[in-house]
């Protein structure tokens, strides 16, 4: 524009261009999506800006959003995905719900029919604002071009601040096509929104007193440690106080597997000691976790003997499921570093030894039979262990949902944070393959291995097409037991082996991978496993490994639904 001078930095551009330029201003140089009628003006701008903003065409909008999730989880950045109105938008919903419950920062942009058509049941019109409201941290419909930059700025701010989450911006086609005077200003505050609650020093001191006085302290940490980038502060705290620490599924990788105070996982398929001893500790210290029912089992018998200290960023999580004795609100990095000077140096060797004793029990009853099986069939544990040997625990591990997921989080080794990508809260089958694509793009220099069951794989295996088109090098391991294994396990244990609709007749997965030009190998015998895994990890391309697993193997330990955590079963 002629009249745009130094004092007036605005330019006249289209709403669609404003979308792309605003994304760039937020540092987003990668987006996943799928075009369609109502979002075409934005795609036209993506074409023009393709040297600055890479758009990855997935094969389904669900693939796009899971890829954005994988990207966000490993990089700590906001994942971006785009979809058209109607079915494009509704296909995002599963991933949005997944990101909401797992606190993943996403900005989803959907096209919408032109504003004069809103409410007329126009072609591909869906009220995505109402549909997505319960599963977004925030959403907004934009019907005017000039409102686009501020909406995007606010969206990024809300998505990544405080407890992160997905936001959705629905932009009508006329707002994309119309023009505006473009100026971008980053959002740094929303007056009705307080991302991080103020930490109360009294509470902090009270928490330190409880921790210092504890004879049998026990820490359970969740994803809050990772999201708050508080890994170092967390490690300093547990080492100073000498407290055995267990992780939730989403807390996994915040503390290296081999750390001497890492005592394993809590919850339904967690380790024996952490579950048993939850009901023996005198102070339970929860850090950045939300006492999900899969963690607590029966709340009426959960850690009733313990005083509970809860470090949490989201005030709504405090006392939601477990009543805390002391709640320390705030960002984990901040609260953990502030509490450290008040914590006495300590060790709890005798107490820690109880975890070790339970560990030995578990090794004998569960872990050895998995890792050193005497039966003919391959176990999931030994496959994962073989990959550990090749990667030295340095890989990003993506898992889908089901038995293999629980085996993965139990047996995969981790040396670095942000390395465990799985659908925790929502339990979304089909998550892993697209999430692995996003994870590899979010951490291109790292090895990405996705463990997927034969069931979940077939929910999103169309994304092999995305691998073919982008050449992204992910290692896919399908652990095939020809069952929907987790449901089958429950049918075996609780429904007298009535295997209703859990038997899978599968296609030739090798041919399928090869159809997408992906090197593929199938392993059915133990002696072939090591070589195949070695070949897979050595490859600098994507690789598909199918391993035939003992069909009716079960995941243990197990806390049956509604049972007390200390009633954890070894078989």
């Amino acid at each position: 524009m002629e009249n745009s001078t130094k004092t007036n930095p605005t330019e006249r551009i289209s709403g669609a261009e404003a979308v792309v330029r605003s994304l760039l201003r937020e540092g987003a140089d990668l987006a996943y999506g799928y075009p369609g009628g109502a979002i075409m003006p934005i795609y036209d701008e993506l074409y023009k800006y393709q040297d600055k903003l890479q758009h990855v065409l997935t094969r389904h909008e669900q693939g796009a959003i899971h890829a954005a999730q994988g990207f966000a989880r490993v990089s700590g950045k906001v994942g971006v995905c785009l979809a058209t109105s109607g079915p494009g938008a509704t296909n995002l919903i599963t991933g949005i719900a997944d990101a909401q419950i797992d606190s993943t920062p996403l900005v989803c942009i959907t096209g919408q029919v032109a504003s004069h058509l809103l409410g007329t049941d126009a072609f591909q019109e869906t009220d995505v604002i109402s549909i997505s409201a319960p599963v977004t941290k925030w959403n907004i419909q934009v019907t005017k071009s000039e409102d686009i930059p501020a909406a995007i700025a606010k969206a990024f701010y809300i998505a990544k601040s405080g407890r992160p989450g997905p936001v959705l911006i629905d932009i009508t086609k006329d707002a994309q096509l119309g023009e505006l005077d473009y100026a971008y200003e980053k959002c740094t505050a929303v007056r009705s929104y307080k991302p991080v609650p103020k930490t109360n020093t009294e509470q902090l001191k009270a928490a330190a007193e409880l921790i210092n006085a504890a004879k049998k302290p026990f820490i359970v940490f969740g994803q809050g440690v990772i999201l708050g980038e508080a890994e170092a502060e967390f490690k300093a705290l547990i080492e100073k106080a000498g407290i055995p620490s267990a992780w939730t599924v989403l807390g996994l990788s915040a503390l290296p597997t081999e750390h001497y105070l890492n005592v394993g996982m809590v919850g339904m398929h967690g380790h024996y000691g952490p579950n048993k001893l939850t009901n023996e500790c005198d102070v339970l210290i929860a850090i950045g976790m939300r006492f999900d029912d899969r963690v607590t089992g029966n709340l009426n018998t959960y850690a009733k003997q313990a005083k509970v200290v809860h470090f949490e960023i989201d005030p709504a999580e405090v006392d939601k499921n477990v009543k805390s004795t002391v709640a320390v609100l705030g960002d984990a990095k901040d609260t953990l570093s502030k509490i450290l000077p008040f914590i006495n140096e300590n060790n709890h060797d005798a107490w820690h030894n109880e975890f070790k004793k339970h560990w030995e029990t578990e090794v004998e009853a569960v872990i050895d039979p998995q890792l050193k099986p005497t039966k003919e069939g391959l176990t999931m544990g030994e496959v994962i262990n073989q990959v550990n040997k090749e990667t030295q625990g340095d890989a990003i591990i993506v898992s889908d949902v089901g038995q293999h997921q629980m085996f993965t989080v139990r047996y995969a080794d981790f040396t670095k944070t942000r390395s465990n990508v799985t659908s925790g809260g929502l339990g979304t089958m089909g998550f892993a393959l697209p999430a692995a694509i996003g994870a590899k793009m979010g951490a291109p220099k790292r090895e990405v291995v996705a463990y997927i069951g034969d069931g979940g794989y077939q929910m999103t295996c169309q994304e092999l097409g995305t691998i073919l088109q982008t050449g992204v090098a992910v290692k896919i391991v399908v652990l095939n037991n020809e069952y929907l294994g987790m449901v089958r396990q429950w049918q075996q244990l609780f429904f007298d082996k009535r295997y209703a609709s859990t038997t899978m007749v599968n296609p030739d997965f090798i041919k399928l991978a090869e159809a997408y030009d992906i090197q593929a190998k199938k392993v059915s015998k133990r002696e072939d496993l090591a070589g195949a895994v070695k070949e897979m990890i050595a490859s600098d391309q994507s690789y598909f490994l199918e391993v035939m697993i003992e069909k009716e193997d079960n995941v243990f330990p197990m806390v049956p639904t509604g049972a007390c955590v200390s009633e954890v079963r070894l078989s």
Binding site: A133, I140, Q141, A189, R191, S192, Y193, P315
Partner: protein
């Protein structure tokens, strides 16, 4: 024990917020007994007044979830003894009653209700008060034949300060 709570929510003006707040109740199977939305004492700040029956522990968590919504400034819950509250009811009656059943005039007078309009065919009585007051009048008018009846949601003012202005000042 379940009690009646009045939840007051101060919010930004956002058309999607009603949906989000309603969903929080729906998700927990809590029936909204009444809902009122109006402006508040602060410019551009809306006020939701929601009445629902639940346990105190449940209302605490519910208010936490409401406050978590980005455009909610602050939410409070109160029991009846902590607030001044009213509802307004309108009763449409046939105008002929005023001449043919003159004792209805006494009913209206004694109930300190107002007649807000009189038409050749009908007249409308307005009664503001607590639930039992509007119910009592309903019972008294019912024998005469009520043509239409409607009652508003509860509106309430807390006895203690809500400090929204100073809160907004801090958030700036």
């Amino acid at each position: 024990m379940e009690e009646l709570f009045t939840i007051s929510v101060y919010t930004e003006n956002n058309p999607g917020l009603l949906n989000r707040i309603a969903t929080i109740f729906l998700k927990r199977h809590i029936n909204i007994e009444s809902l009122n939305v109006s402006r508040s004492e602060i410019e551009n700040v809306h006020r939701f007044t929601i009445v629902a029956r639940m346990k105190e522990l449940a209302v605490k968590k519910l208010v936490g979830q409401i406050e978590k919504q980005i455009e909610v400034i602050k939410a409070y819950y109160h029991t009846d003894d902590e607030i001044i509250f009213h509802e307004t009811a309108l009763y449409k009656m046939a105008s002929s009653l005023l001449f043919e059943q003159r004792e209805i005039q006494n009913v209206i007078k004694n109930s300190s209700a107002n007649i807000v309009t009189v038409d050749p065919e009908f007249f409308v009585i307005e009664k503001t008060g607590r639930r039992k007051d509007t119910e009592e009048l309903y019972d008294q008018l019912e024998p005469y034949g009520i043509m239409q009846f409607v009652r508003s949601g509860r509106i309430s003012i807390s006895k203690t300060e809500m400090n929204i202005s100073s809160l907004l000042e801090k958030l700036k």
